[in-house]
């Protein structure tokens, strides 16, 4: 049905476009004919704009009718079909859902076993009501499109401002797209916020912590509140060990990636020959394309045992899953973010800056340290912030290499866990979001979001404060 609908839509749009454009073209030809050079006949808008406007006027009402009509049709058809079933089936939401699934299975021939006559009747009602409703939607859509088509043909005239109207529509479409993106962000934030508030304040929830317990507690053990009959067990939703774990791993990652990334960017941008740069930069960027799950088992199977081996030779006892292994590999992961972006901003510093410094007798390294890096600083800070955000949000590497133990420690040789890993651990395998354990994931998500937001704000302030603008 929707195939027919959109096929008709396409045909009508094309018809509207070509009909209206050729009509406008005919008017334009008259105006351009020899001896007819008369302003009264020349078109305000080019024929193509008349055509585009007509096609849009056909498209929009048909789309709206479909978007609004289809759900209504489905809802009404399902209501009619369910009315034919016994009341006890319809009253409960779960059995209603199961009945609907049965009906759709009968219609698509996937129903297992022999359906009762009552079910078959209901299925038949569902089918006919849906089909009936779809035809009505189709009729309304085509009627509106036809009306738009005739309206457009009738409106082709020399002073009709088709271009302005079309551009206004384009602007509205762009605005709508931007709005969808912004609203999605706001929607996500509010849904996470809502679940977070439930986690802290829903009285029906067993074992929920207070906000203070969560933010300042030093023990994290969500498994304690797994089952409803364990309600009296002291739960542990202290978020501090996760925070220190996250910060520790991020810090190690930045200590690895910061110097390596920035210095390689300086080399690539200022010292490397063009031919070396031409292949070295893509190779570095490939590093960013390695799936983190691959880096994760590289960390767990190669780096962690290596570190453990080294530790043993120095007489150090290193956990086989350590923050150091995860941090090192995560550092490798974010090197390309820092090096590639920094390389771009260093290259964006105008050549005139370098010339100015060289002409004063500055050496290459003086020029880089004192002129180029300060000028590129805002971009470099953004590169670091992006890399830190990536590191904080990274999950797979930590799951594999740093373990799940929520130790409150700053020792990089211990196993630690991070906020993202706990979110993943809590939610894997669970379908119902009504225990304190699962809702804790939303609280963690909210805190994580809040932290990255703060980071971005700090970055913005740094960039504003130390921006050295060149022009």
């Amino acid at each position: 049905m929707s195939g027919l609908y959109f096929g008709t839509l396409a045909v009508l749009m094309l018809a509207a476009f070509f009909a209206v454009r050729s009509r406008a073209q005919a008017l334009a030809n008259v105006a351009a004919a020899p001896g007819m050079r008369d302003v009264r006949y020349s078109l305000h808008s080019l024929p193509i704009y008349h055509g585009l406007l007509a096609a849009t006027l056909v498209l929009l009402p048909m789309l709206i009718v479909f978007a609004v009509g289809s759900p209504i049709v489905i809802k009404m058809a399902e209501t009619q079909a369910l009315a034919r079933l016994p009341a006890e089936v319809v009253s409960d939401e779960l059995s209603r859902g199961a009945a609907l699934r049965d009906l759709y299975n009968i219609l698509t021939g996937k129903f297992q076993g022999e359906a009762s006559a009552q079910l078959k009747g209901a299925a038949e009602a569902l089918r006919s009501a849906t089909s009936y409703g779809n035809w009505i939607v189709f009729a309304i859509g085509v009627a509106l499109a036809a009306a738009a088509l005739f309206f457009s043909i009738g409106h082709v005239s020399s002073d009709f401002r088709a271009r302005n109207s079309f551009e206004r529509i384009v602007k509205m479409v762009l605005f709508a797209c931007a709005t969808v993106a912004v609203l999605t962000t706001i929607g996500i934030v509010f849904s996470v916020l809502y679940e977070t508030l439930r986690f802290f304040f829903d009285p029906a929830l067993k074992g929920r912590p207070t906000v203070t317990d969560f933010l300042f507690g030093t023990e994290w053990n969500p498994q304690a509140a797994l089952r409803a009959d364990q309600g009296d067990i002291k739960t542990a939703f202290g978020f501090i060990p996760l925070l220190t774990g996250t910060l520790l791993i991020t810090l190690i990652a930045i200590c690895v990636a910061g110097p390596l990334g920035l210095l390689s960017a300086i080399y690539l941008a200022e010292y490397a020959t063009p031919s070396f740069r031409a292949w070295a930069k893509p190779v570095l960027e490939i590093l960013a394309g390695i799936p983190t799950v691959v880096l994760g088992f590289f960390a767990a199977l190669t780096v962690a045992p290596l570190i453990r081996g080294w530790g043993e030779s120095f007489g150090l006892d290193i956990a086989s899953e350590s923050a150091l292994a995860a941090g090192l590999v995560m550092g490798m992961m974010i090197i390309p973010f820092i090096s590639s972006l920094s390389d771009d901003v260093i290259n964006a510093v105008p050549q005139s800056m370098r010339d100015g410094a060289y002409a004063l007798g500055a050496t290459k390294s003086e020029t880089i340290k004192q002129v180029i890096l300060p000028a590129a600083l805002p971009g470099i800070v953004s590169a670091f912030m992006l890399a830190i955000s990536r590191a904080i949000g990274e999950t797979m590497i930590v799951v594999m290499a740093a373990g799940l133990a929520a130790n409150l420690t700053f020792n990089p040789l211990d196993a630690v866990t991070t906020i993202t890993v706990q979110i993943k651990t809590i939610l894997v395998g669970d379908q119902e979001f009504d225990s304190a354990k699962t809702l804790a994931a939303f609280a963690l998500g909210f805190v994580l979001f809040f932290f990255t937001l703060i980071l971005n704000v700090i970055a913005l302030i740094i960039v504003r404060r130390y921006r050295e603008q060149y022009d």
Binding site: P350, S352, M353, R354, D355, G356, A357, Y358, A359, L360, G361, A362, T363, E366, Q370, V371, P374, A375, E468, Q469, Y470, D471
Partner: protein, 272 residues
């Protein structure tokens, strides 16, 4: 001014003078190649001390290329190759033993587009003295910065906002800041590559006045597309065409009675 009176006024005559005899900068048989392209062909010229020499000619004639040979800015272009001899006070600029950092401290440069560093006005001027270690104390550095800004005619306009960014100034002020930055290193020669082409007429007039004042202390070489500007600020003028130095001599002579037909055609607007 004495140097001009004392010296012969055509390129051919100047070629007889040995390098280092009374001239600040001398070039002999200077060639520049950009890869395969022969951009500057056998240029020989002498530039007197404490005066302004203008290089004129159509775009791509090699005048900026030659200018950039004098402080070896062409070194930064990998495919560029320079042959011949350029001396400053008799010392070969392309001598292996010469340190390019010291050369550039002696030869300042001002570019076509004002290019102040994205630093404060003070730091812009202090940059050169700092990297060369000219000042032992903050007071000494302050002194250099103030004197340089004063000489560049900018001090009165910026003395209350030395901590503002150099890029916050107007185009003409930025160019004078770049001149102050060059002066702060106490160069002997100042190269100016079309210093007024990005400026409005009023800012241009300020820069030209400034060049005229600076003439008493420095040897100045200015590349310009404006023949009026060359006539206004320079004592000597050299005309470049298609990579060769066509004619060089006293400015008044070049503009009123050139020896070469090509110079005549250029200054009357028939070529270029």
């Amino acid at each position: 001014m004495d140097a001009i009176v004392a010296n012969p006024s055509s390129a051919t005559a100047a070629a007889h003078v040995m390098p280092g005899s009374g001239f600040k900068v001398s070039a002999r048989d200077c060639n520049v190649y950009y890869g395969e392209k022969h951009a500057l062909k056998s240029v020989s010229v002498d530039i007197p001390d404490r005066s302004v020499m203008a290089f004129i000619g159509p775009s791509g004639c090699g005048k900026s290329t030659f200018l950039r040979c004098i402080n070896r800015m062409n070194d930064t272009i990998p495919i560029c190759r320079v042959t011949g001899k350029i001396t400053i006070d008799g010392q070969d600029v392309y001598d292996q033993s010469l340190d390019v950092v010291q050369l550039r401290a002696r030869v300042g440069m001002v570019f076509q587009k004002p290019n102040p560093f994205p630093k404060s006005i003070y730091d812009n001027v202090a940059y050169g003295p700092r990297i060369h270690g000219f000042a032992q104390s903050r007071a000494e550095l302050d002194q250099i910065v103030m004197t340089s800004l004063e000489k560049a005619g900018l001090l009165k306009e910026v003395k209350d906002r030395l901590t503002d960014s150099g890029t916050s100034l107007s185009g003409g002020q930025q160019q004078r800041l770049c001149i102050a930055r060059a002066i702060a290193v106490s160069p002997e020669v100042i190269l100016m590559d079309e210093p007024c082409s990005a400026l409005d007429p009023i800012a241009t007039a300020r820069i030209e006045e400034l060049i005229d004042e600076l003439r008493s202390n420095y040897s100045i070489i200015i590349v310009t597309h404006s023949m009026q500007q060359a006539a206004r600020v320079s004592q000597r003028t050299a005309f470049f065409h298609l990579g060769t130095l066509v004619e060089e001599g006293e400015t008044g002579h070049i503009f009123t009675n050139p020896n070469d037909k090509r110079t005549q055609d250029y200054i009357t607007g028939r070529i270029g």
